[in-house]
Amino acid sequence: MLGLQILIDGFAVSALYGLGAVGFTLIFGVSGVLNLSHGAIMVTAATVAWALAERAGAYGGALGGLASAFLLSFVTYFAVVRPIQRSRSIPSEETEIFVLTGTLLWGIMIQVAIAYLATTSPHTVRPLISGVTVIGGVRTPTNEILTAALCWAAIGALTLLIERTRAGKALLAASVNPRGLTLLGFELERVHLLVWAIYGVLVGVAGVLLGAFLGASSDNVGTLTASAFSIVVLGGLGSVPGSLLAAYCIGYLETLTAYLVSPSLRNIPALILLVAVVWARPQGFLGRR
């Protein structure tokens, strides 16, 4: 009974972690950008979905949240990332550190704006389905099952896009050899636009689902970014399957700790694992280098 409970709860949490981290790793893989405003965009999606749900219903709210994350990811790219990448006064070897700082500050701005407009109190997005389903004696909120299913649907759609479409293959190529891709006549700019669009959708879905599953507050921004960052480092920077594997490792490790040790120590073993992996295998589970 306890085993099944851990299995079910861990699966849903891990799926959510995975979806959040996949977008983050994809952007890094394709364009070398570590977007530290990631958590802020997720919380924006959740908060907008919550605010709209009262007037537009659960589905309208969810769509609104998704749209807000999509827009915000483009704003992040055009207003923060691209100007830094194109700036002539920033030496090219320092671009990455400037992008890190820029997106970090941008994330803080969004966080403060959310706190100002919607308080620091957590908000929970109205669940798309209410009620509970009993799986082998374990009472599971139906919305939790839906959350896991939607996460995997989004990850599946992403896989199809990358493996089966020309645009997706260009994306994959850009992460391996961007220079080669430009020589083949692809515009790198368009590939980057595509990856930010995909990121916007993924982070929006993740944010809305997080808001419905656990609730989100502007105070969670830092933790969410850190969690995506840890998962991506653990899985290997830029590797999508690596991130999913890492998300499940961390998700189950946390759930096991919460059930078998103490809920207050939930994050600790995952952090120890992260330190151990960085130490023993710095490229992560499935990293290329």
């Binding site: 909120p141 609730g215 759930t255």
Partner: protein, 408 residues
């Protein structure tokens, strides 16, 4: 005659500003976390009280001015704000914070700056114990809210009437509280008073205020089969309540849940609060005193939501500070502290008095029937329905959602 008129007129013109200057405003500082449900109620309620007093002609002809700072719930920011209120804004008194950790950080500074400071919502017993232990230095600090020990006592008193003797016949309980300064004495109080009302304590969970996933905690508690969860939560609230409802945890929640004291809680939880029973200082529909409902209504009219619990205590604090300044006839902090200690004010939460230097809760709000005993409400269909004490609750009854087993 006409020669005399001009000097008179000139004299009057010179005198007028002097007369106006004589009525220096009374400045009251406010320090709170403006982005939190409970925090924002503090400056808002202070302003409502100040406007009311000013509209009625002020205190002895002096207007009340509120000087408010946001401390972002940081002790360091709050201390800086207190220093600024003292040195730059030259306030006569301060109303500060609903967080015990912040109030405890302000306490020595209130002493050093000799600035009467009242917390309208921090509950730790340590605040008043320190005043008792070092009275000469710390007598400037007041607790304008019930100490944790009294909160625990009020939960037990209400639990006895409502769920032990009542139709639920509760026999076992688990404490569900957050790990913070104010819950130390609260949990100790629960552990001491629950057995006295015939309830066996099965487990105590002190959860980290950073917790976002409460599933393992609820599942662990459910396995121990307590009849009720006795809550002590303030910095968390929305998430455990929503997850309690989504997972249909079959155990009722009963106790202190500060975020749930504001009407915004219903919307923040999408109605998951249904059935939650909580201690509140007052609520907009129950005339604890003749002042409660009029204040709540003017607050709602102005801000669109009902005041969270420190809203009521802050509104009262502005009034009894003004009353104390009037009685002291002076802005001198020593005289003001003396006058505040002699407070006997009918506020929105009851008859407000403070314990004296001989009591271990020196300068703390007196708890009990005839003074302030708190109020228990239950969220029912978007409204806080008063259920205890019987004198004010009328015929309000407990109604739990279908998934709560005790309901059947």
């Amino acid at each position: 005659m006409s020669k005399l008129r001009l000097p008179w007129a000139v004299g009057a013109a010179v005198m007028l500003p002097l007369v106006a200057q004589a009525a220096e405003p009374i400045r009251i500082g406010v320090i709170a976390e403006n982005s939190a449900i409970s925090g924002i109620a503090i400056p808002n309620a202070a302003q409502v009280a100040a406007d009311e007093i000013n509209a009625a002609g002020g205190v002895d002809g002096r207007r009340i001015e509120i000087v408010a700072y946001d401390d972002h719930n940081s002790a360091a920011d709050a201390v800086r704000a207190l220093q600024r209120l003292s040195s730059q804004d030259k306030v006569q008194a301060v109303i500060a914070s609903y967080t015990s950790e912040v109030a405890l950080a302000l306490e020595p500074w209130a002493g050093r700056l000799k600035l009467p400071t009242i917390t309208p919502g921090a509950a730790s017993d340590e605040i008043t114990k320190r005043v008792h232990d070092d009275y000469a230095h710390l007598k400037y600090m007041f607790q304008g809210y019930l100490a944790s020990t009294f909160l625990a006592q009020s939960v037990c008193d209400a639990a006895k009437d409502l769920i032990v003797d009542g139709p639920l016949h509760v026999k076992t309980a688990a404490i569900f509280s957050e790990d913070a300064a104010w819950t130390g004495p609260l949990d100790a109080g629960y552990a001491a008073c629950l057995p006295k009302i015939g309830v066996t304590l099965l487990d105590t969970i002190r959860l980290s205020p950073d917790t976002t996933d409460f599933t393992p905690i609820f599942n662990g508690l459910e396995a121990k089969k307590p009849d009720v969860l006795i809550t002590g939560i303030s910095h968390v609230g929305v998430q455990p309540t929503v997850q309690w409802a989504n997972q249909q945890v079959p155990i009722p929640m009963f106790g202190v849940a500060s975020q749930a004291t504001s009407t915004t809680f219903w919307k923040d939880t999408n109605g998951a609060a249904e059935g939650v029973v909580l201690q509140n200082m007052a609520t907009e529909s129950v005339p604890t005193t003749a002042k409660t409902v009029p204040f709540a209504q003017s607050y709602i009219k102005r801000y669109g939501v009902s005041p969270a619990y420190p809203g009521y205590t802050t509104y009262d604090a502005v009034h009894y500070i003004a009353d104390a300044i009037h009685r002291a006839g002076s802005d001198d902090p020593e005289k003001l502290v003396d006058a505040l200690q002699k407070t006997d004010w009918t506020g929105t939460v009851g008859q407000i008095r403070f314990y004296g230097a001989g009591d271990s809760h020196t300068n703390g709000m007196v708890y009990g029937p005839g003074t302030v005993s708190g109020l228990f409400v239950q969220w029912q269909s978007g409204k806080q329905v008063a259920v205890w004490p019987k004198g004010v609750a009328g015929d309000g009854r407990l109604v739990f959602p279908a998934f709560v087993k005790a309901a059947n």
